[in-house]
């Protein structure tokens, strides 16, 4: 799980943070409700997870709630890896 979190956090920072951003992102930072990731930009996050972990996340599971923090995303990845 920790490995997932590390990789996801790294991707989120690279993909969504501006270079001059001074906000710090941690595993429990609210990504969607905190306005860091918008619903359109979730698409690239979903594609990243599917490619990196060789999983398929149905749209119904890729909800803003499920993607709202690195912790939650890692739990989602874990669930699909176990399935």
């Amino acid at each position: 799980m920790e490995e997932y979190k590390k990789a996801i956090l790294e991707y989120v920072i690279k993909e969504y943070m501006e270079d001059d951003e001074d906000e710090e992102i941690t595993y429990d930072t609210e990504l969607i409700s905190g306005g860091i990731v918008d619903s359109f930009s979730m698409v690239s996050l979903k594609r990243f997870l599917e490619n990196k972990y060789d999983i398929q996340i149905p749209d119904a599971d890729a909800s803003p709630e499920a993607f709202d923090s690195v912790d939650k995303i890692a739990a989602l990845v874990d669930r699909f890896k176990q399935a």
Binding site: E18, E23, G34, G35, D38, F40, S41, V43, S44
Partner: protein, 415 residues
């Protein structure tokens, strides 16, 4: 379901929630035509107050130009008040065709189709042109109407960091398997006032076989040497596949918008774009006024030149007094305050000083990016600008932010 007390309470609570979050929007009644000097009744029932307007999109000062008003009056007399029809049934007059032709010439495109607004143009254009084999790649700061239009379209969506060409290139590379790649951007970004790097975007589109869409609503009429828009400023006239823009800002300020660009794409919008097909034609009075606006902006660059001078004077003045503004050349000049309450408080105090501006904060802009957005107009004379600068200096001094950096403002007021 009857509108029971329970249902009423439910909606009332939603409104309370908006108020508690500090997001409740109140209209201010203006009792004069749109201009640099306006009379405002606020709060409702209060005596009218004379203020200088620094928040209109009246960039060229044409919203109440006597020639435009007269042309609208003539249109009203010769073509009537309304047409009671959508365009394709019996809502197209000769003047609609003339205006579309004039817009095509002005924007340097192949064809143009009028919409009731640019919001409608953006709502209809993507769905009319793209399908599920295609990809829309949008700048992350595009206008809300584009976001809505993209939602209505079946094509896949992706975004790139604001004006970040490396990130856009990465996305274009990622999506080479799609049938059509459409890069989507504003020409001038409405909240930051910066210009899209259209020359670089067009070069990337060439390299990665993509099309380019630009919403030039905050540019048409005044950006570029002859005011044709961001594509003129960036030296890519004739190379933008789809431009949407509005008649509701610099170009007269009434209402109406358009899709302009490659003739096949415009024709497809005429056949399929739902806001065009299912909403009423643009009223003759507006069409006649807009044709006159194009006469005026095509005859001389005097107004856009004055706007350019005003913009420089205003930006220099704010910078010299030590306010933190977003860099750029456009007449949208955001004064960065970062803290939402500070933005609201300062806007309120400026209004008391006779300066009408509005504070913007999350969710309209990103968290921690609250600001007062000021907008210049060719209708402003130097004395308007001087009074505005004087008021900003007084109010900013009251809050102790003159000469303070972003970090210092954040330390004093938090986010």
């Amino acid at each position: 379901m009857a509108y029971s007390n329970d249902v009423r309470d439910g909606f009332s609570k939603e409104l309370d929630g908006i108020r508690e979050a500090g997001l409740f929007k109140e209209e201010r009644w203006i009792k004069s035509p749109q201009a640099a000097d306006i009379e405002v009744e606020f709060p409702a029932g209060a005596e009218g107050k004379k203020v200088i307007n620094f928040c209109a999109n009246n960039y060229l000062g044409l919203s109440n130009h006597p020639d435009v008003v007269e042309a609208a009056r003539i249109g009203l007399g010769t073509r009537g008040y309304g047409l009671s029809s959508v365009r394709f049934i019996c809502g197209t007059q000769d003047i609609h065709g003339h205006l579309e032709h004039r817009l095509t010439e002005f924007l340097g495109t192949e064809d143009t189709l009028l919409f009731p607004s640019c919001m409608d143009a953006n709502a209809g254009v993507f769905e009319a042109l793209l399908g599920d084999q295609d990809i829309m790649i949008a700048d992350r700061l595009v206008h809300a109407s584009i976001v809505d239009g993209m939602r209505l379209c079946k094509a896949m969506r992706d975004t790139y960091k604001h004006s970040n060409m490396e990130h856009l290139e990465e996305k274009l590379r990622d999506h080479q398997d799609k049938r059509i790649r459409l890069i989507i951007t504003d020409g001038v970004f409405s909240m930051d006032g910066d210009l899209a790097k259209l020359d670089e975007i067009v070069a990337l589109a060439e390299k990665y076989d993509a099309m380019v869409f630009v919403d030039d609503s905050h540019a048409s009429g005044f950006i570029g040497k002859t005011g044709r828009g961001t594509h003129e400023h960036c030296g890519v006239l004739g190379q933008i596949d789809i431009i949407t823009t509005t008649l509701g800002k610099a170009l007269g300020g009434a209402s109406g918008g358009c899709v302009s660009g490659r003739k096949e794409l415009v024709e497809l919008c005429r056949q399929r774009a739902r806001p065009y097909l299912f909403s009423n034609t643009v009223a003759p009075v507006i069409v006649s006024g807009a044709i006159k606006v194009l006469d005026l902006v095509s005859a001389t660059t005097e107004r856009r030149d004055k706007l350019e001078w005003n913009t420089k004077f205003w930006r220099d003045g704010l910078e010299k007094m030590g306010l933190d503004i977003k860099a750029g050349d456009s007449p949208i000049v955001p004064v960065m305050l970062y803290n939402a309450k500070l933005a609201q408080d300062m806007a309120r105090d400026l209004y008391e000083e006779g300066i009408y501006v509005v504070g913007f904060f999350f969710p309209v802009v990103a968290k921690g990016q609250a600001r007062i957005r000021t907008q210049l107009s060719a209708a402003h004379d130097q004395h308007h600008l001087e009074k505005g600068l004087e008021a900003f200096a007084k109010v900013a001094d009251k809050y102790g932010i003159l000469g303070k950096s972003k970090k210092e403002i954040k330390e004093i007021f938090g986010l």
